[in-house]
Symmetry: C2
């Protein structure tokens, strides 16, 4: 990217910032909860609190989608749910394959929030021939040999890699060759993919290490304790502080 200088040339006019995209699912979840409670409208303040962000950020985020609110009132819950779902592409069905049915793969297969949001487990794939046919979460596991066929037949474009690190790149290559263009990687490896393929990674050990860093700093600060116990507390910090360590985005798990 970025070649030299003024890139992202086109700026498709619908340029929603990546940071905003990463928060839309959060808003959607909060809105869905409100919807289930039959709440008709929410203010940016309320919704922001439910999503764990501040209201200015939420309003700015929504401003990239359009003007879906009503001044002096707030946002219509149902309408927003629809708009965000559409923006995220959740109004269509996304078949997904999960490769590597160990503890983690099984956990993912059983994950409820899966089907609930436009995602459908098209197949569970494992290299262990002994697993073939055995049902996990009601879906029979298939052998790796079937991978290409399944992807093509079902038009799968999203793949989840939950294999050991050693197998990840190989699985990735096959997924990509077969037509997958988005990959969620749980294996602790950097995947090499061709241009046009999106990879998101989730890595438990990285998250723990980040926590350890902060934890260590807390311990150290305590020692250096500036007489003045930084009361700060300042403003409003009712509860919930940073939550989404927004600093980054990813997540975590294992392989």
């Amino acid at each position: 990217m970025a070649t030299g200088r003024t890139h992202r040339p086109a700026t498709r006019s619908r340029g929603i910032p990546e940071a905003t995209v990463a928060r839309l699912p959060l808003y959607l979840r909060a809105l869905t909860a409100l919807s289930e409670r039959s709440v008709p409208t929410v203010s940016s303040e309320e919704l922001a609190a439910a999503a764990g962000v501040n209201s200015a950020k939420l309003r700015k985020d929504f401003s990239y989608l359009g003007s879906y609110g009503t001044r002096g009132v707030g946002y219509d819950v149902e309408y927003l749910v629809y708009q965000i779902s559409r923006e995220l592409g959740l109004t269509q069905d996304w078949p997904v394959v999960i490769v590597g049915i160990g503890n983690l793969g099984a956990a993912l297969a059983n994950y409820g929030g899966f089907a609930s949001r436009g995602f459908r487990v098209a197949a569970l794939i494992d290299a262990d021939a002994g697993m073939a046919g055995k049902p996990v979460a009601g879906i029979p596991v298939q052998h790796t040999d079937e991978l290409e066929k399944i992807i093509q037949d079902d038009g799968v474009s999203i793949g989840v890699i939950a294999t050991p690190a050693g197998a990840a790149q190989q699985v990735c290559d096959r997924l990509v060759a077969a037509g997958v263009t988005s990959i969620l990687n749980f294996a602790p490896t950097v995947l090499n993919v061709p241009e046009g393929v999106d990879v998101r990674k989730v890595d438990l050990s990285i998250e723990l290490q980040i926590l350890a860093f902060h934890e260590q700093r807390k311990a150290g600060e305590e020692a250096a304790a500036d007489t003045v116990v930084p009361p700060v507390a300042a403003r409003k910090q009712p509860h919930s502080i940073d939550q989404g360590p927004d600093g980054d985005v990813p997540a975590v798990m294992q392989a």
Copy 2:
């Protein structure tokens, strides 16, 4: 985190940017691999490629830690491994409790990269009395009633929540009350915690939704195809594109 206004007052002189902290584990992993292959030194270029970032970023990141490289040569692998480990607080042992031993909790308990990096599973905790005593990953599951005792006895400061969404906040409150100050949350909920407690979240469905967004855009672009097929490709793009947890968005790379 933190911060109401001018906080982080002192800027303890050791202010490592959050974005850098989030990448240190990545460098560490790449370095560990090199170390196992007995590679004595690496250039920023090589290491960057292995970690999936670009070399300028890596050098800048390292500059926050100190001047650990040798001009004209590169970095000493072993030395860097040590420095980063120390910076991340991995030279000490971090006992961790995992609450919620379902598929996911079991997967986490079995995760190898766990013990390998200073983390030790101090206990597995589940609300189901029927699970009590049953060993998972060689560790007997204990009932939720024991939670406070375990945390205090073992001096646990990091907790992992792998419970259903409905139980997460409650578990979180108990963890915090018992002394935990860092939480890794796998439940799809926004956790409210008091100031000073760090929360990082990991959410499968959010990651999938972000992928779906980009996937949808790919499909749309194809249709709108600007005559000019953005050749870009420009410079060097050997393989591997974005990766990156954060914003994602293509980020060159190189090898």
